[in-house]
């Protein structure tokens, strides 16, 4: 909501002053960013000083490569899976936390904990737990009569397993934001509805969910851009294996740069990744704009 439609000069200046420092700070990062972009159009190798400008050469080579196209598909699939799981889950957990019962505070205090473990450590721990022969998850499964699951070591189940780990690490992020959102709903709105006899599921659908909409967009934006470029979890659990089943764009770029010294191509991949994220986010934002204009 905008305060005044016609701002006085001093107000406007104040507003500009308010976000200018932040903007300047981030613009400073633009230089390395553009350098990276430039490298994407060269054949720069890590161990050679000079490089030549090759235009879209890197991109052409990449798109001819089956592996690369597969990794685009995989990255998008991963992002979609993450969003489909973590958004509903986050809302559910937030709603559960918003109940005023005894267990709720226990859950709330636990919720921060997964966030406090660095993703690298969480990845390693889950990897150990998921180890088919010696991990505790299969041990538990077997003890209740279920067959062992291959988790990260089979090409068909590896990606889903990483989604699971990501869910454990990042759902609290979504849930905490949604919780704050739920708690900012004015109490009298809820009370009025309750007095009118609305059921809690109606309250949820008619009041809470719409109220949460901007928060959902916020979380979606963050999770989409983070999943697209997710690296640490993949690196530490499977490094792109088994047999490329979890080879996402960022992992591919990393390998090109640090294992195979082809920095030019790595930057091309990363730039491409950035472009996809950019357009995806614009798309998501447009949903927000349309909704908030209603």
């Amino acid at each position: 909501m905008i305060l005044e439609n016609r701002l006085s000069v001093s107000s406007r200046t104040s507003y500009y002053l308010m976000f200018a420092p932040a903007l300047i700070m981030l613009l400073a990062v633009l230089y390395p960013f553009f350098q990276g972009v430039y490298t994407a159009f060269t054949n720069q190798k890590l161990y050679l000083e000079s490089s030549t400008f090759i235009g879209i050469g890197n991109f052409l080579e990449l798109f001819k490569n089956d592996e690369f196209r597969d990794s685009i598909y995989r990255t998008l699939l991963y992002t979609l899976a993450v969003i489909s799981v973590q958004l509903p889950l986050g809302v559910t957990v937030a709603w559960l936390l918003n109940q005023n019962n005894k267990i709720q505070s226990l859950l709330r205090n636990t919720l921060v904990l997964p966030l406090l473990i660095p993703p690298v450590v969480a990845g390693l721990m889950w990897k150990t737990m998921m180890q088919p022969q010696s991990g505790i998850l299969n041990w538990l499964l077997n003890n209740i009569g279920l067959p062992s699951f291959s988790w990260l070591s089979d090409t068909n189940t590896a990606l889903i397993s990483v989604v699971l780990i990501d869910t454990w690490v990042f759902t609290p992020f979504a849930a905490l934001i949604f919780l704050a959102g739920l708690q900012s709903i004015p109490n009298d709105m809820i009370e009025a509805a309750q007095i009118d006899g609305a059921s809690s599921s109606l309250i949820f659908r008619a009041i809470q969910l719409p109220w949460l909409f901007p928060y959902i967009i916020l979380v979606t934006l963050f999770r989409v851009s983070d999943s697209m470029k997710s690296f640490e979890l993949f690196y530490v659990t499977t490094r792109g294996g088994p047999l490329n089943a979890t080879r996402t764009l960022h992992i591919t770029a990393y390998e090109e740069a640090f294992r195979w010294a082809n920095v030019g191509r790595a930057m091309a991949i990363v730039f491409f990744l950035w472009i996809i994220s950019y357009f995806l986010s614009i798309f998501i934002m447009s949903k927000w704009k349309r909704k908030s204009e209603n």
Binding site: L46, Y47, Q133, D154, P242, L243, F258, R259
Partner: protein, 457 residues
């Protein structure tokens, strides 16, 4: 000393005039009796980057000694392999020089030397004010090990000649580790050939009660370079033959690949296609496997340590199996240390490097778990000998096996800055066969086709 030299001079140069004799005398005593000035770089600070490895823990306690001896402050940067490589590459490629000395290997050095990022160490070795040649004793290193760090920077050739790019700090080779009790129970002998191994593969695997065989098998370059590489080489496969043709798709290679995959599929549990170094080590140490296949002898200290392994009383070592033609060859991994060409403190860096690779410090490191020694004097040292003597099914077994392997272990790959990429592609082909996505011939020939253009880049 003086008197003896005087005497010899009189004997040999009786007819020379005394002035010449005197000069000869002085210069002789000067070069042989002079030790170097350890404090010549006092006040400097150097940054040493090491990859997390038993070597690090074994030398850390000695570092304060070095600092006191030389007056140089040592900033020790210890990083795990992946992150360490990133950091190192960032520093080397930008020539920022924030790292002075670092841990590396011949394979990585093929890239670094091509780029001009590392110093040639020969001048330092030959400089009498920086190296006390007698005390340092370069000849004490195993020749093959030292030479593996030499390269003329010629593409695909020239290992063993040319500038010395690094000094070795340990050498790892591959062997079989087995559980004597399990083999006894099953009534089988430790296999001597790959054919024998294949024939007992079935018997070895007893399901989740006791898995059969364990090896490192994820889709990276170390597969054809080291563990599976040992098997490949024993089948007579070298990556490039004498004419410079790729042998990835050769008949021997296909046979080796098929045998390997069959072995894993029969004797290893599911999920074997994703085993990393530490998982294979842990699996065996936890007692879950009967045989560890072509695994690094680096793991032996862990297996023998009762606080870290369940099988410390039940471990034997054997040489890797013989190939179909009776060959035994093995891969070798030689951790080494180099000096950053962009460093501004090379002399101080050299003092550190020569100190850490000196006889006394090396012996100390082996006693602390850094295996295997690269100096003959270290193997001969009685404390080291006593330590490794107890390893294995019977006393001395470990030493026997490692010396057998030592005779056949070598770096048998063509030097090339992009070898890693080629080997990764090769490893992927092997994985494709294991996961049933292609047969060996297809997968390997496709890999060979992909790799061929990389050779000339």
């Amino acid at each position: 000393m003086f008197k003896l030299k005087n005497f010899i001079n009189k004997m040999l140069f009786g007819n020379l005039n005394y002035l010449t004799a005197f000069i000869l005398l002085i210069s002789a005593s000067f070069t042989t009796a002079q030790a170097i000035d350890m404090k010549q770089q006092s006040g400097e600070t150097i940054t040493v980057m090491l990859v997390s490895h038993p070597f690090v823990d074994s030398v850390k306690p000695y570092i304060p000694e070095f600092e006191a001896l030389t007056g140089i402050t040592v900033n020790l940067d210890v990083l795990p392999e992946g992150s360490g490589t990133e950091k190192l590459l960032a520093d080397l490629s930008s020539r920022a020089g924030t790292i002075d000395v670092f841990m590396t290997s011949p394979l990585s050095n093929w890239q670094y030397a091509t780029a001009g990022w590392i110093e040639d160490l020969d001048p330092f070795l030959e400089n009498p004010s920086l190296t006390d040649a007698a005390a340092y004793d370069v000849g004490d290193f195993f020749q093959g090990v030292l030479d593996s760090n030499r390269w003329t920077r010629e593409l695909l050739a020239g290992i063993g000649e040319g500038p010395l790019w690094a000094l070795p700090i340990n050498s790892e080779s591959y062997l079989l580790a087995y559980r004597p009790s399990v083999f006894k129970e099953l009534g089988i002998d430790v296999p001597k050939t790959y054919a024998e191994l294949l024939s007992i593969a079935d018997k070895l695997d007893q399901g989740s009660a006791q898995y059969g065989l364990l090896t490192r098998f994820d889709k990276f370059w170390d597969l054809p370079y080291l563990t599976f590489g040992t098997m490949l080489q024993s089948y007579g496969v070298e990556m490039l033959d004498a004419e410079g043709n790729l042998q990835i798709c050769s008949e021997e290679s296909i046979n080796a690949t098929n045998d390997f995959v069959q072995l894993i599929q029969t004797a290893s549990p599911e999920g074997a296609g994703a085993f990393t170094w530490y998982e294979s080590m842990q699996g065996f140490a936890a007692g879950q496997y009967a045989l560890s296949f072509n695994e690094a002898d680096l793991f032996a200290p862990v297996y023998q340590d009762p606080t870290q392994s369940e099988v410390s009383n039940d471990v034997g070592y054997a040489p890797t199996p013989l190939g179909p033609d009776g060959y035994r060859k093995a891969g070798a991994w030689i951790w080494s240390m180099s000096i950053n060409a962009a460093s501004s403190k090379k002399d101080a860096a050299w003092l550190f490097l020569s100190w850490v690779t000196s006889k006394e410090i090396m012996i100390g490191s082996h006693l602390g778990g850094n295996m295997n020694p690269v100096r003959k004097s270290a193997w001969a040292n009685k404390d080291v000998a006593a330590l490794v003597n107890g390893w294995g099914e019977y006393p001395g077994q470990y030493v026997e096996v490692t010396s057998t392997m030592g005779e056949v272990a070598a770096v048998r790959f063509p030097p090339h800055p992009e070898l890693t990429r080629m080997l990764d592609r090769w490893a992927q082909a092997v994985q494709e066969v294991y996961f049933g996505k292609a047969n060996a011939k297809e997968a390997l020939c496709n890999a060979e086709a992909d790799i061929k253009p990389m050779l000339s880049q």
